[in-house]
């Protein structure tokens, strides 16, 4: 089905097999992703990801991944890492980019380069409690993709549109999610 000459490094066959298998065994498709976070000092914290749950059992990344987060000096912090909101942009960018690669593979489109820039705008009057009508989070996110691929501009736009349609993080940031926080 897939043109052997197109290789974006995505194993589409395996993904399609997984879809088939999970249609028959919906329980196996229920995944839980985890992150653990530890306060260091000030606004600096360190988060790690390794364990997750899926296919009916505990799973693990090959290694533990670590993420530093802090605020910049202009916000009176030590700038030991990206801000949490930048990490949200990173998540969205990575998710959309992975989607572009997978959809391109499925559609027999060879990618040469995929670059994106994300801008999330925010009015600090929200988090600082200056104006209660202003939300804490982004008032909007602009994503700009630059894609070089063997496809027409229209097919490339369709790739990016389909990637949004299938993206977990795009869904998380565009749609409401119940968040339940407990202590101890």
């Amino acid at each position: 089905m897939t043109d052997a000459t197109v290789d974006n490094g995505v194993n589409v066959g395996a993904l399609l097999d997984a879809r088939e298998a999970l249609t028959g065994a919906p329980e196996a498709g229920k995944f839980t992703w985890e992150a653990s976070c530890k306060w260091i000092k000030g606004t600096h914290s360190r988060s790690t990801c390794q364990a997750f749950y899926g296919l009916g059992e505990k799973q693990s990344h090959k290694q533990e991944f670590t993420f530093e987060s802090d605020h910049p000096e202009v916000l009176a912090a030590e700038d030991n890492g990206a801000t949490p909101v930048e990490l949200v942009l990173v998540g969205l960018a990575s998710c959309l980019t992975a989607g572009v690669a997978a959809v391109a593979q499925r559609r027999d489109i060879q990618l040469r380069s995929v670059k994106s820039t994300l801008k999330g705008s925010m009015d600090l009057a929200g988090i600082l409690g200056i104006d209660s009508d202003i939300r804490n989070g982004f008032d909007g996110i602009d994503v700009h993709f630059e894609i070089d691929a063997d496809a027409s501009p229209e097919d490339i736009r369709a790739l990016v549109a389909q990637s949004q349609k299938r993206s977990a993080v795009f869904d998380i940031v565009t749609n409401p999610t119940q968040v339940s926080v407990e202590v101890n």
Binding site: T23, P26, D139, G140, E154, R157, A158, A161, Q162, Q164, K165, F170, D171, V173, T174, N175, P176
Partner: protein, 414 residues
């Protein structure tokens, strides 16, 4: 208890088409109808509804539209008349006012209990319709109880709705048609839009559904396409049937003052939350429409027919407000009613067989259900893309009846 070779449940266009083919094969059968012929069309559609297909596509096996407006669109009343005339034309053995209350399996095949009789049969065709029950998003139940709400199954005309602003949820054929007429009635509409299918009514001088039939898209078979699950869940296209053959889309609705919002995702108290993915939903619809138009253009060129038709055309992209609001306060915005144009589901509560999937639809392959002797008609993309439309019933019913006849012959030979 009456025993008969085959029972068809439902005397709509699908059930009657099956009756036609069974008669041709000399299979003794009856058609059980809960009310009257074309019951759903007669009782469960809104007043202004017209078929999406042009009249020249109003066809059933051995029968076709014979009026003088081949490019028009049948109204609901005309559709009822068309189906009634068909039943008469084929002398279908319809038994009216027989509401099926249960179907069980027996050694013979099936036992069918209606409100006033019982039947036994080795072969059963379920053609009871795809639109018997309303389908709502899970969050619909959180709508404040004091808010009047309507589903298209009970909606008849704007006069039913309180005076004032209306939130219409859903932008398939139903949603855009209702948004259009409700807004035109003087009740300002806010329209919540999820994934949708945008089509121009007329392209290069012909009806878009004529094109889709002509270039072969409506004849695409279920086993030829890439993603059948998706194809069976695509919303109906944004089309309406008017004498001016007008297009309807989000741009034309915006032009008349309808406010467009994203997909309704949740309700918290008096607040409606919309998705921020509106722009992508519109982009997908525009891209898909343009891909279809390109397919049509290419077909015309391949056939060397460019001079026969109007020039190719591309329609302006869907305009989306740059910062379209993500919330709507029902009280502050003074919303007076909500219309849930969020789809329909079949009603198989009477079918006591383990053949339903997790969405409550009968599992089947091209109408042959996952149970010997059981068949289904009238479902979306049953054998072909055109299954949804009246003229799609012919090929569906023919194939299903061929299988059914072979099944009965094999069975009696055994």
């Amino acid at each position: 208890m009456t025993t008969i070779d085959c029972v068809i449940i439902g005397a709509g266009h699908s059930g009657l088409a099956a009756s036609y083919f069974l008669q041709q094969s000399g299979i003794e059968h009856i058609v059980l109808e809960r009310g009257e012929i074309a019951h759903s069309w007669k009782n469960e559609r809104w007043d202004s509804m017209c078929l999406l297909t042009p009249n020249h596509q109003a066809r059933l096996p051995g029968f076709g539209y014979s009026g003088d407006d081949p490019d028009g669109y049948l109204t609901v009343a005309e559709t009822v008349k068309f189906i009634e005339e068909y039943a008469q034309f084929i002398a279908a053995p319809v038994l009216c006012d027989r509401e099926v209350v249960s179907v069980d399996s027996t050694p013979l095949g099936f036992s069918i209990a209606t409100n006033n009789n019982e039947y036994a049969t080795p072969a059963l065709v379920v053609a009871s319709g795809a639109c018997n029950r309303p389908s709502f998003p899970p969050c619909a139940e959180k709508l404040p109880e004091s808010m009047p709400s309507f589903h298209p199954l009970e909606y008849r005309n704007p006069g039913q709705l309180p005076w004032g602003k209306v939130l219409v949820v859903g932008a398939s054929a139903t949603g855009v048609q209702l948004a259009h007429e409700i807004h035109a009635s003087g009740r300002p509409v806010i329209l919540s839009v999820a994934e949708h299918v945008r089509l121009p009514r007329i392209y290069r001088g012909r009806d878009i559904l004529w094109w889709m039939e002509t270039v072969g898209i409506l004849d695409e078979r279920y086993d030829e396409i890439d993603d059948l699950v998706r194809a069976r869940s695509i919303p109906s296209p944004q089309l309406m049937g008017t004498s001016e053959r007008r297009s309807i889309d989000l741009n034309s609705l915006s032009d008349m003052g309808v406010q467009i919002r994203g997909q309704l995702m949740d309700i918290r108290g008096n607040e409606i939350l919309f998705s921020g993915s509106l722009k992508n939903h519109c982009e997908l619809a525009d891209l898909k429409m343009n891909r279809l138009l390109k397919t049509i253009d290419e077909w015309i060129s391949e056939q060397g027919l460019d001079v026969e038709f109007d020039e190719p055309e591309r329609f302006s992209g869907t305009r989306v407000e740059e910062k379209s609001p993500l919330t709507l306060d029902l009280q502050k915005e003074d919303i007076q009613s909500v219309v849930w144009a969020t789809g329909f589901a079949p009603d198989y509560r009477w079918l006591k067989l383990p053949v339903l999937d997790r969405k409550g639809r009968i599992r089947h392959e091209a109408g042959v259900a996952a149970w010997p002797g059981l068949y289904v008609l009238g479902a979306t993309f049953l054998t072909r893309r055109k299954s949804t439309y009246i003229h799609g019933a012919e090929d569906d019913a023919r194939e299903v009846c061929e299988h059914l006849v072979a099944y009965l012959r094999k069975r009696s030979a055994a």
